[in-house]
Symmetry: C2
DNA sequence: GCATATTACTACACAGGTATGGTATTTTAT
DNA sequence: ATAAAATACCATACCTGTGTAGTAATATGC
């Protein structure tokens, strides 16, 4: 599982937000704190708004806030929204059809590992990224 | 772990070779059997020869053969050779320095899963792809 | 109402991975 | 010598992920 930079940025933004006491986050603050390219972050935030993880407040005194409780936002949803999760679920050898019934030569041994990984992303929420001992998002 | 197409092709070539009774494999045969683009496969085979997994026999009746016993060729070596393995071992959130001592907010929970996956690729050899019930490489 | 602060939208640019095409060279069995 | 096979370059094209630039739209404070 090597996430795209866009997914990394998305998770880092959300990890920062859940670990901060602020309610409203400005793009400028996020850019400086997380070292994400300015315009890139802005597009990402707009996208994440559309997907319903956050909400944007326009105008002066505006910014971004969570659109729902962070324990209802799962890692797999974020990844799927910003880069798509399908590719990580396909056959490790690149076969179109690969299943228990018609497996590739790696399927039997690798499938359990991939399933474990997927379950992790499916069950872990943004809220679980809250950890007061960690100052790296 | 979403491998590059180049890695997928490499594994499929080696899986096909270990599952066949033939000793010498011609590029033409590999291209047709595995549906890999002609020129792309040829360059890949040249690369794999340089890395010592296979050997090329030039001239008429030439082709490719294993350069060493397939139980001495591990998946991680093949992946590392053709696309590099480093990116899969870095921090899931993209941090430069992320370790037990200075972890990101996902490190503690995700590191064991990534380690398990890496161990799988480190310990599984091409020989283990041999399976007479499988006809998909 | 106006200036300011902030996000939204559209288009473009660059790099790397993936793929194709051409031409010429080297090696070896027959 | 001829044919069959791989090697070596080299150029190009496409797609995607990543990143940049400029302009438009929105809301607030005064």
């Amino acid at each position: 599982m090597k996430l795209s930079k866009t997914s990394e940025y998305a998770l880092r933004v959300l990890a920062y937000m859940i670990n901060s006491d602020m309610q409203v986050f400005k793009a400028k603050d996020l850019v400086e704190t997380l070292n994400v390219p300015n315009k890139y972050l802005r597009r990402l935030m707009t996208d994440m708004s559309k997907y319903g993880f956050i909400k944007s407040l326009q105008g002066r005194e505006g910014g971004y806030v969570f659109a729902k409780n962070a324990d209802k936002i799962f890692l797999i949803e974020v990844i799927d929204a910003v880069e798509g999760i399908d590719k990580y679920q396909g056959c490790i050898m690149g076969h179109q059809s690969c299943s228990e019934e018609n497996p590739c030569s790696l399927h039997k041994s690798y499938a359990p590992i991939r399933d474990l990984e997927m379950e992790y992303f499916r069950k872990t929420s943004i809220k679980e990224l809250k950890d007061k001992n960690i100052h790296k998002f």
